[in-house]
Symmetry: C2
Subunit: 151 residues, 2 copies
């Protein structure tokens, strides 16, 4: 019944000279409410790059930070391609001003799209409400086919 320390966990706990805490895919998935498939998919698309111990993926703190960014990007409507473009510019040894500017640029455009979407959405809601009113009225007429007001 007792769960012994696996090789992976050994790596995470003992072989841990740099203070890294590794996480395997299952835990990672739970932590961020994504599926294993999604994590592998992101890796396949070059968005994540976990270490390997044999064939087992080990995610570091940096991987988790990246995933957070990816999920934020997705939430605000960026495509994975855009997210990748921005993330790829990250250089731990530089000022990253290029990355930051690209991010701002893309963000402004995306913000515009979102606002436009909101406008369309509001229009849609209005029109749907209007239509519902009409339909309800038709339905009422069917149910009570009396003439005009006084019943």
């Amino acid at each position: 019944m007792m769960k012994l320390v696996s090789v992976a966990e050994a790596a995470a706990n003992e072989n841990n000279l740099t203070g890294e805490d590794y996480v395997r895919i299952g835990e990672m998935a739970k932590k961020y409410s994504v599926t294993l498939r999604t994590l592998r998919f992101y890796e396949d698309k070059g968005l994540l790059n976990p270490k390997r111990e044999g064939s087992t993926r080990l995610y570091t703190r940096r991987d988790r930070a990246r995933l957070k960014l990816i999920l934020l990007g997705r939430k605000v409507g960026f495509s994975l391609r855009d997210v990748k473009q921005m993330i790829d510019l990250y250089d731990p040894s530089g000022t990253n001003s290029k990355q930051l500017r690209l991010t701002i640029d893309k963000s402004e455009k995306q913000l515009g799209r979102l606002q436009k979407q909101r406008q369309l959405l509001d229009e849609a809601i209005d029109e749907l409400n209007n239509h519902m009113t009409v339909v309800r009225q038709l339905l009422a007429d069917r149910a009570a086919p009396q003439v005009s007001a006084a019943g």
Copy 2:
């Protein structure tokens, strides 16, 4: 140079005992700002049913009314499948209360989805704005790497 009356137009003008005015696909497309492909696609999906004169499609007033409904449906976010489901229930010889109820039902659900979408959209806009603020600050720090306030 003079454009003579085509067979289609003849059908529309002369062979027009019932007062129908037919429209060919090109005109129809312009009138409603859709492509020919779209009109044929809708027909293929059973959403439209124009008459035929030989192989040429002729759209009646009723077809145009249907198209309007389809486009409204799309605008408010219904799938073509849903639209078809609602339209298919239309019976010119009945009260259509079944159709109307289905429409109301679907509309209420769709309205809920739209409102939820709007909420998510607003959240996204907020988060994007926040993120942009942070990034702009980082960028400013890169440009002017002085310490804290007083320059």
